[in-house]
Amino acid sequence: MKRVLGVALGILTAIGGFLDIGDMVTNAVVGSRFGLSLAWVVVVGVIGICLFASMSGRVAAVSGRATFEIIRERLGPRAAGANLTASFLINLLTLTAEVGGIALALQLASSVEPRLWIPVAALALWLVVWRAKFSIMENVTGLVGLTLVVFAVAVFLLGPDWNELADQALSPTVPAAEGHAVYWYYAIALFGAAMTPYEVFFFSSGAVEERWTVKDLAQSRMNVLVGFPLGGILSVAIAACAAIVFLPAGIEVSSLSQIVLPVALAGGKLALAVVIVGIVAATFGAALETSLSSGYTLAQFMGWSWGKFRRPAQAARFHLTMIVCILVAGAVLMTSVDPIKITEFSVVFSAIALPLTYLPILIVANDPEYMGEHVNGRATNALALVYLVIIVTASVAAIPLMIATGAGS
């Protein structure tokens, strides 16, 4: 049992990072418009986040230093400050979207207007951040979030034409109704949704919270190799559900309520209940990750005391940051903005800001002063350089594509 719970950090990070509101919506939109012809991006994203998270987890375990301390130290205050500003805003945007996502998921369960759920969701979020132990938080949300496996089950129950799905996934072509620019815009959005920087901030800070050391390196690797591929498989399953049910009917996904319909079609009320529980857990997990990440990034940049393992009074500015962020997110949502729209922007901005977070980790993972004998091997570095090129390309291409396609419309 301890072994099973040992990968909880990876599962929570992946469930909250991969299957947050942004990912669920982006994958379903992509599935309904492009079938599985963008599934390869999820594979690229999963390998990338595995590589990136395993480096930051290793740095955290060996040196005890979390990601943003390293970003500040290697990039200096100016570049790191720019990265902090971007990461913090993206994080706040994502937190807002997640709190909205919790409210939307609760609306599916209750048909009560999301605006009424927002204060409840925000308060619950703060209570967990304020009082719950880190290990309880990650185990509960991670395990409950696992119910999203029902998306994968639904794909089988829907009895799709497997040849056609395999064909879409393995020999991807741009569908006739869509332009190339839109295709690549969504490729970047999916990539950004898979490799959101907050996952890495959370994972590396979580490793420090759990006091991982060199002895836990194997566990860190397990966490990465179990959690993220699982998240990736479930993202593809969400896209597949949409591709099976919506693509032939010419239906375009624009809301969370549509995402659960294929599951209801496949498995009836029971499956529907399970998937709603899963979505609430996943969006709640992602909201926890993003609120903690907002505290982690700012506190680590400024050198403040941080961490849930301390009493709130022992990490006062860290907790104050999170309280302010949760309040801002709630206030923004009360203006009735659409969380789905917010999430679409936040995944693309994630892709833009990624290089500034990725490069320092790559460099420190090679620095023997931090890592001793645990520096990157040759194979890791070769792969890491390939990803450096991919990440920089995606970052540079994102804004022109966003403008040229009117954000994918």
Partner: protein
């Protein structure tokens, strides 16, 4: 072109930017205090503007307002510097370790203010997470 090597030096060598600036400062209990935002330098005679004619040493780590000027340029008035005297520094590794408790230092006043005025007053703020 190969340059002549430096003589073997009799003490630990640190490059300021590489090894000190922007490093995390931890107090004697391992609690984060601040980051090293800048260093203050004095001549051996106490001069504030030393040059090569006399030995100059680092006297304090600085934190606080000097961060903003390192980001945006300019120079902060010395009244707004928060100093940690070098005599408090116990070790320099991947972090800078102090030999004193962070609470006794000026630089943590905002942390103490937020704790005493806000976080410590909220219910449960002074208890271990349950």
């Amino acid at each position: 072109m190969t340059l002549p090597p430096d003589e073997r030096l009799p003490g630990l060598v640190l490059d300021a930017r590489l090894h000190l600036l922007d490093r995390q400062v931890l107090d004697v209990d391992g609690v984060p205090v601040c980051t090293v935002d800048d260093l203050e330098v004095h001549g051996m005679d106490g001069s504030d503007r030393p040059d090569g004619t006399q030995t100059a040493v680092v006297t304090s780590l600085l934190s606080g307002a000097v961060l903003a000027t390192r980001v945006f340029g300019g120079r902060p008035p010395s009244s707004s510097w928060h100093r940690i005297r070098w005599s408090h520094v116990a070790d320099v590794g991947t972090t800078v370790a102090l030999g004193v408790r962070g609470d006794t230092l000026d630089v943590t006043w905002t942390e103490r203010w937020v704790r005493d005025r806000v976080i410590g007053r909220l219910p449960g703020g002074r208890h271990d997470p349950g």
